[in-house]
């Protein structure tokens, strides 16, 4: 197997490394001068987040560079961890147990197996068509009609968000783009970089400028300044690294912009779910960030749109 690592991918990794070193340095300085009081707690949270970013970026970079199998294993794990957080908050009942067992132990491996096999047709309809129907059938066979639609719909949403949407990230490896053969790892890197950078930049702009909340009934942290500054600066970052994509500068800017907007919407949707269930975070697996779903909420909603736009406009 030829390596997927080329000069452009190494430059992307190098760029992320530089950003992390820079962030850690700033975190260190802030820690030295933060003193006591409430500011201290915020600085400590920021430093915990930066440390977690080192781990997440390393795991992601390594799995991307090991080729298809590495990325598929990584994102299938993310799907399972996300599902567990989602289902924990879901209003499921005892009768839903078997349906959930299927979702965890059959649907997830098969969906990622289809990506590995390169079977695009079944990959793209299995969950929205067959699993959607299967979940409803399995629950109805269990015979408990109490809040039937709510329970069924929640499970369907769980599989859609945590498995189907997340699997679109490694699915980028399936696309055949003329002149970009064997280079799709960079596409994956581009998407994740832009979306995650957008999250970080929204946080930074929001904290730096503050101002009016964009959706006060949903999230106390999202401001207009964060939204505009974050999406625009992440789009700029995506444009700067256009050479790593098959899109060209204008195309890269457009794709990055769409990804950040979808990511922002994803963050809002997942915040609304959390608010409804009365929790602040989906979990506590990632120090400083919360759960896995708290970290990938924006990626979930950006990935499928990014995939299909790329497929429609750029793939053969």
């Amino acid at each position: 197997m030829n390596s997927v690592v080329d000069a452009a991918l190494l430059r992307l990794v190098g760029g992320v490394l530089t950003l992390l070193v820079f962030a850690s340095a700033i975190g260190f300085v802030m820690h030295r001068f933060s003193g006591r009081g409430p500011k201290r707690a915020m600085v400590e949270n920021i430093n915990a987040r930066i440390r977690a970013w080192w781990v997440m970026a390393s795991v992601f970079a390594i799995s991307v560079m090991t080729g298809a199998i590495g990325s598929i294993v990584l994102f299938s794990m993310i799907s399972l961890l996300g599902m567990r957080e989602f289902v924990t908050l879901a209003p499921t009942r005892r009768a839903d147990h078997r349906a959930l067992v299927w979702c965890f132990f059959a649907v997830t491996p098969v969906e990622y197996g289809l990506i590995y096999a390169g079977w695009y047709g079944l990959f793209s309809i299995m969950i929205p068509v067959y699993i959607f129907i299967f979940v409803a059938i399995r629950v109805v066979l269990a015979g408990d009609t109490e809040r039937f639609l709510e329970r069924t719909a929640t499970m369907q949403w769980g599989v859609m968000i945590c498995v189907y949407f997340v699997s679109y990230v490694p699915a980028l490896l399936m696309l055949r783009i003329p002149g970009f053969e064997r280079q799709n790892a960079k596409l994956m890197f581009f998407l994740v970089l832009v979306v995650e950078l957008s999250d970080v930049l929204q946080y930074i702009w929001g904290k730096a400028i503050g101002g009016r909340l964009i959706a006060p009934s949903i999230s106390p942290n999202k401001t207009w300044a964060g939204f505009v500054g974050g999406t625009l600066s992440a789009t700029a970052a995506g444009t700067v690294v256009w050479w790593a994509t098959p899109f060209g500068p204008v195309g890269a800017a457009t794709m990055a912009f769409v990804a950040t907007i979808m990511g922002f919407a994803g963050g809002l949707i997942m915040s609304a779910i959390k608010r409804d269930r009365g929790v602040k975070d989906f979990g506590s697996l990632i120090d400083g960030h919360g759960g896995v779903l708290d970290r990938i909420d924006s990626l979930c909603f950006a990935a499928p749109v990014f995939f299909h736009l790329t497929r429609y406009f750029f793939a053969a």
Binding site: T88, R94, H97, F105
Partner: protein, 206 residues
């Protein structure tokens, strides 16, 4: 080694987060009493304990279940050091046999060990905490020197409900409460109601 691996695996599968409202490293002998809703219950309490406490804790379990088959017997004897008792069918009948079991628990822990017990006697349905059987009361009478620590288990009934074989690996929570205060001269019913209350109250975040 088996114990270590088993503890790690089970807390990983059940995504357990542990909350202590008493000193986890206390050297006091304790009776950990928990709500019972799943086969995973005692393994999860056991794996949530610090390693040194885990070596000294002995779960009380039904001999009818744990003496079936070589693997279960090995686990019960060598890994968990379980105190196996024969379960008395129904409530209130065969009082002597029940008393004998409690006396055995009190004897078996000697001067060093702790116990894990489930005072409901059997697994409840849908996460509800049932009425306590009298075993905990008699145990507290026989061993007034031992701390009674309530342990609330959340979500394990959803991870592995009664009658299911495969778990759904959701997240779970274990809360160790502070030891139950001793009330001199307290009657059996008051004691049982009070200890059940202490357990149920742990599900409210402190």
């Amino acid at each position: 080694m088996i114990a270590g691996i088993l503890a790690k695996t089970s807390s990983l599968v059940c995504g357990t987060s542990v909350e202590w409202r008493c000193d986890p490293h206390s050297s006091a002998q304790r009776v950990y009493f928990g709500n019972h809703s799943s086969h995973l219950d005692f393994v999860i309490i056991w794996s949530a304990l610090p390693a040194e406490a885990r070596r000294l804790v002995r779960p009380v379990a039904g001999s009818d279940y744990w003496q079936r088959g070589v693997v279960r017997r090995h686990l019960a004897d060598r890994v968990f050091h379980a105190v196996l008792i024969s379960r008395t069918p129904g409530i209130g009948c065969r009082c002597d046999a029940a008393k004998a079991s409690v006396r055995r628990m009190a004897d078996e822990i000697g001067a060093r060990c702790s116990l894990i017990v489930f005072p409901e006697g059997t697994r409840g349905v849908d996460g509800e905490v049932g009425a306590f059987k009298s075993g905990l009361f008699h145990l507290s009478r026989l061993r007034p020197d031992v701390e009674l620590v309530p342990v609330f288990l959340e979500n394990l009934n959803r991870i592995l409900p009664k009658g299911e074989v495969l778990p759904v690996p959701m997240l779970s929570r274990v809360v160790f409460g502070s030891p139950l205060p001793r009330v001199p001269g307290e009657g059996k019913q008051e004691f049982l109601a009070r200890s059940r209350e202490a357990l149920v109250h742990l599900q409210v975040a402190s």
